[in-house]
């Protein structure tokens, strides 16, 4: 997942009569569940929205490596170290794959990354929270990848072909990560010392609300959601997805023998869903604006990596050019 608050440029939805013939044809395709492919005509707003959403998603995969990088040098066993390394490698792969999907829309990867480094592009707010103990590696896998999957399973049906196909592939790996994450927590709860169990509960306490925030603001506060739904870029509302996540996660939480930091969380017999407390939206918007605990560090790390690597990339280009000239001369 990892796209929250994607700007669509829409103040309200257009009526059929207001659309151009091309746009009407486009909408008929979308309504008929025919995938839109890179060469097809598409409204400019649709293209821009997709570029924003897919780049946000790609940035999130890349920034999301950092909280895990924080523990990959301190993993507790060889098995856990290898698992975490494989997960990080998958995330770099997802990033590459998503940037490629984004480039089918005519966007440029370097330009979009530059926007990220200038603080103009978003990525999932969850990665602005620190990872403070080893159980965070389990909780991130379980809650963060879990929340991402809820969103991405639905996005497999998104109207843009390359994005949809990226989601299908990525979902498989994310599900694997989620199970692994849960297993870390389960093993610590079942066979761990009191200190280890405390780590698990501490990780859940810190990451629970940020995970719920991953689904974005309430839909009634977002004209962007309505436009994205009409274009079938988005297939379910933020609140629906959040509810789905909570409904599937609470039983897993109970199975762990842990609690959520939400006194209002309880099963509602009438609705057949869990009720839960209100998210601290001030915190959500602040973290999104750059005031989270780790926003500055995350961007600084990413920016430094790319800036300090400039000479490496220049050398690769220069060498390739020399090789080309040599081949031509020979």
């Amino acid at each position: 997942m990892y796209a929250q608050l994607v700007e669509t440029g829409a103040k309200r939805l257009k009526t059929k009569e207001e659309m151009s013939p091309e746009e009407r044809e486009f909408h008929e395709k979308v309504d008929a569940e025919t995938k839109i492919e890179p060469k097809n005509w598409m409204p400019e707003g649709y293209r821009k929205t997709l570029v924003r959403q897919i780049s946000q998603h790609a940035h999130s995969e890349v920034v999301g490596m950092l909280p895990e990088g924080n523990w990959v040098t301190r993993a507790p066993t060889l098995k856990r170290k290898l698992q975490l390394m494989a997960k990080i490698q998958d995330e770099a792969g997802h990033g590459l794959y998503l940037y490629s999907a984004m480039e089918t829309l005519g966007a440029d990867r370097d330009e979009e990354i530059e926007k990220l480094h200038q603080g103009k592009a978003k990525y999932s707010s969850i990665f602005n929270y620190p990872t403070l103990n080893w159980a965070d590696m389990g909780a991130v896998g379980w809650l963060v990848d879990g929340a991402a999957i809820v969103n991405q399973v639905v996005l497999q049906r998104t109207s843009y072909g390359p994005y949809s196909r990226a989601m299908i592939r990525i979902c498989k790996e994310e599900s694997f990560h989620q199970r692994q994450g849960y297993q870390i927590l389960l093993d610590m709860m079942r066979e761990g010392t009191e200190e280890q169990k405390a780590m698990v509960q501490d990780a859940i306490n810190r990451l629970w609300w940020p995970a719920l925030m991953m689904f974005g603001p309430h839909d009634d506060e977002s004209p962007n959601s309505q436009q994205s739904m009409a274009w079938k870029i988005k297939r379910k509302s933020n609140d629906e997805l959040r509810q789905m996540f909570i409904d599937q996660t609470v039983p897993q939480l109970e199975f762990l023998g842990c609690t959520a930091p939400d006194p209002d969380l309880k099963w509602n017999e009438e609705t057949g869903h869990y009720d839960f407390g209100e998210i601290n939206w001030q915190e959500f918007y602040d973290v999104l604006k750059g005031n989270g605990p780790c926003n500055r560090e995350r961007i600084k790390t990413r920016k430094n990596a790319i800036d300090e690597g400039a000479w490496v990339r220049e050398a690769a280009v220069a060498y390739a050019e020399k090789q080309k000239q040599r081949a031509q001369a020979a």
């Binding site: 990088g69 290898l82 490698q89 770099a92 590459l96 790319i306």
Partner: protein, 254 residues
């Protein structure tokens, strides 16, 4: 030194070098110069730590004192670590990272190639799988040394500096001691003379193509790693890598 003692020692050397270099590469997570490199570095690190685990498991069986692979990796202090000094050197810039990788990969490739024919079947089996990975590692790091050496003026300067900085740790890769000799005589480990010849040959070939100058063959070399006498870096590497195991010694499952 008996052959049995030498074998345990030799396995720990193989394991520790893989482990420490893998750990160094883990430090680069999120800090590589391009996303493709991010993936490749973690991929190489994953191979190395995976290989380390295989060597540790075999070593643990032979040592047979109740310690398993995890205990060997995470509960030995620096003086018991047997990795090559080269592998513990800091990442610095990408030229140093790649130079370190290249020198190691050449050594690793020829060592594993020889170990696939080891008289010890278990070693031959582990080496056969590891050789495939090391072949890719070597191709990759050779390419980078060439790109950086023969790229821009800046990259050439940095790559040459990296070679100069790291050169003093390369002698250890190809200078045999008693353990190496016992292993070679038993047909378990590589022939030290051949390994040195192969290493020098390939290093010279790639550096020449990269327009770089190797260090002097008679340069002074630092060689304590195989005996547990390390540079100052290893203590800090282990302090980080073994933090959880040391802070929570009662935890048996993670």
């Amino acid at each position: 030194m008996t052959q049995a003692e030498a074998l345990k020692e030799y396995l720990l050397r193989l394991a520790d070098s893989d482990m420490i270099l893998g750990q160094r590469l883990c430090e680069l997570c999120g800090k590589a110069p391009a996303l493709e490199e991010e993936m490749a570095l973690m991929n190489v690190a994953l191979d190395l730590v995976g290989q380390a685990r295989n060597w540790y498991e075999y070593a643990a069986e032979l040592i047979d004192d109740g310690r398993d692979a995890d205990k060997l990796a995470f509960r030995r202090d620096a003086h018991d670590y047997r990795n090559l000094l080269l592998t513990e050197q800091p990442n610095e810039d990408y030229a140093v990272t790649m130079g370190r990788q290249f020198f190691f990969d050449v050594y690793h490739y020829f060592t594993l190639k020889s170990l696939t024919e080891s008289s010890d079947e278990r070693i031959a089996g582990i080496a056969a799988k590891a050789l495939k990975e090391a072949t890719y590692h070597l191709r990759r790091s050779s390419e980078w040394v060439k790109r950086l050496g023969d790229g821009t003026e800046e990259s050439h300067r940095r790559m040459q500096e990296a070679i100069d900085i790291l050169w003093r740790f390369t002698g250890e890769l190809i200078t045999p001691d008693d353990t190496d000799r016992v292993m070679a005589e038993a047909g378990i480990g590589p022939d030290p003379d051949q390994l040195a010849k192969d290493w020098r040959g390939m290093v010279n070939e790639v550096l020449t193509q990269a327009t770089l100058t190797p260090g002097a063959e008679d340069a002074w070399m630092y060689m304590g790693g195989k005996h547990g006498e390390h540079t100052e870096h290893l203590g800090f590497i282990l302090a980080e890598m073994q933090f959880l195991q040391r802070a929570y010694p009662d935890a048996t499952t993670w």
